[in-house]
Structures are given as C-alpha cells and as structure tokens.
Subunit: 153 residues, 2 copies
C-alpha cells in the first residue's frame, strides 16, 4: 500500500503543474515567473518560460515561445488540436498570437488584472478557442507574488 | 539640371517606402505582402517582412520580427525612441507587442478592417505611443489586393 499523493494524469491540473515547473525555472533565472506548455493528444509538445530578460526582448513571453515551438514541432501553422497551459492570464499580445495559431483551448492559472487580455474584452481569441481560467490560480499567483516581494527586498 | 523625382528624406513617406520594399520581398516569396522597418534617429535599425509561410509560424508577422530585431540591435527591451513603419494596420498581437516594447511611434499604411487592432478598440497600444495611420495607404493596400487577386487566379 502506497502513501504517495495520487496525481491524476492528463487533467488540466496535471498539465498546469508542468507549466508551473517552467515558471519556477523562470523564477530561478530571475525572470518574472510565468510558464507555459502546449499539449497535443495528451503529450507535451512544447515548454517555455518567460525570457524577456535573457533575450532582452519584450515580446519573449512564455506563451509566444511555446506557441512558436509547438508550431515548429508540428511543422504546422495551426494548433487547432492543441491546448496551451499558462500560469497567468495571457496579455493582449499572447491572446492575439493564440488567435493566429487557432489553438483549440487555452487554460490559464492566475488572473492578471493589470495586463490580462480581459481588459480589452473577450473577443481577442479565435471564436473556436475554448478558454478556461483559474486552474491552480493560487499556486500560479503565489509564485509571481513571491518574485516581486523578493525584488522589493 | 536633374529630372529625377525628388524624394524628401526622412519623412514618414520615405520610411514607409522602405517598408513597402520589404512587403514586395514578401510578395515575391509568396507571403502575404506586409513589410515593416524600425527607425531610430533617422536610421533604419531593423527591416522585416511577413514570414508566416517560410517559418510555418502564425506569429511571424513583419512587426513581430522587426520589433525583436530592433531590440536585438539595440540590446534593449524598450524602443521608446524608435518608430515602427508597417504597411498594414497592426493586428491585436502586434499592437500588444508594440505595447510591451513601449515604442515611441507607430506609422501604418493601409487600414485592415478584418484583423486590424481597431476592432478591439483604441487602448491596446502603450499610452505614450503615438499612432499615425494612412501613410501611403493606397500603395500599401494595392500590393495586398494584387497578392490575393493572384492567389484567386
């Protein structure tokens, strides 16, 4: 009999946990800790974390890097059978990127009241993209809050 | 005495003509013909054209490539002293990218009633970014129309 915590496979929480591992890598690299994975047929085909500092590129958000990596992996411009998991509500740019990729589903963790896409309304995504917010919101948000608390000293 | 047409240097039209040359390169490569340049202190520091087909990447818009190239060139995340010239009204993703880059000015050519940022309102850009639309709109739009006419045969 095992006392190990049982993690259910292939749920939204399961993949969000993988995105959180990416966010932790960003944290460790002194980047704003946001992580993303792209999943296709229950397989992770792309992982990325925010690299705006490392690349000195204000557009190098986790979602942008993950979407581009997934398209490279599939050698396809469109991701209609994929799901993007990201630890923070996507910004306008990343919502626009997912529009162009026609991704099937976007699952995000913590809300972003300051820079989240919702400020610009609910029409930025592709009409066929399903959006789910708030998955592991507390864990995802806490990592970001810890980062900024550390920054402030 | 010269009969050459006089092109005034360093005007918005001057740089939009450079963006149009980029768009023509896209046309010749069978990409939707949109071009962009980034200008800093009257110098072009980045040029790009739409490469969504060549890179198989739905996010490889001219503006995204030009902004990233300009940031690489300046080794800086922010472009507050730069102007982006692009032959078509930016989409939501590219408006969001220019938000993050804090670019000083965006000058675009033809309007894009289908995918342009305006559909999502006028608040996607950084509040400090100046926006000018309609520069050489006819030439910019005509190249795109010609492309789709050719596609339709």
């Amino acid at each position: 009999m095992s006392y190990e915590p049982k993690i259910e496979l292939f749920t939204d929480e399961y993949f969000m946990r993988e995105a959180l591992k990416e966010a932790q890598k960003a944290f460790d690299a002194d980047e704003v800790p946001i992580g993303a994975v792209v999943v296709c047929n229950q397989r992770i085909i792309a992982k990325a974390h925010n690299m705006t500092e490392a690349l000195n590129d204000a557009t190098a958000h986790a979602e942008m890097l993950a979407i581009t990596a997934a398209e490279n992996y599939l050698n396809a411009k469109f991701l209609q059978d994929c799901t993007l998991y990201v630890t923070l509500e996507p910004c306008v740019m990343c919502a626009g990127a997912s529009f162009w990729s026609r991704i099937g589903k976007v699952v995000y963790g913590a809300p972003d009241e300051r820079y989240g896409y919702k400020k610009a309304g609910d029409t930025l995504f592709h009409p066929k993209t399903q959006i789910i917010g708030g998955v592991m919101a507390q864990e995802c948000g806490q990592l970001i809050r810890r980062f900024f608390e550390k920054k402030r000293g």
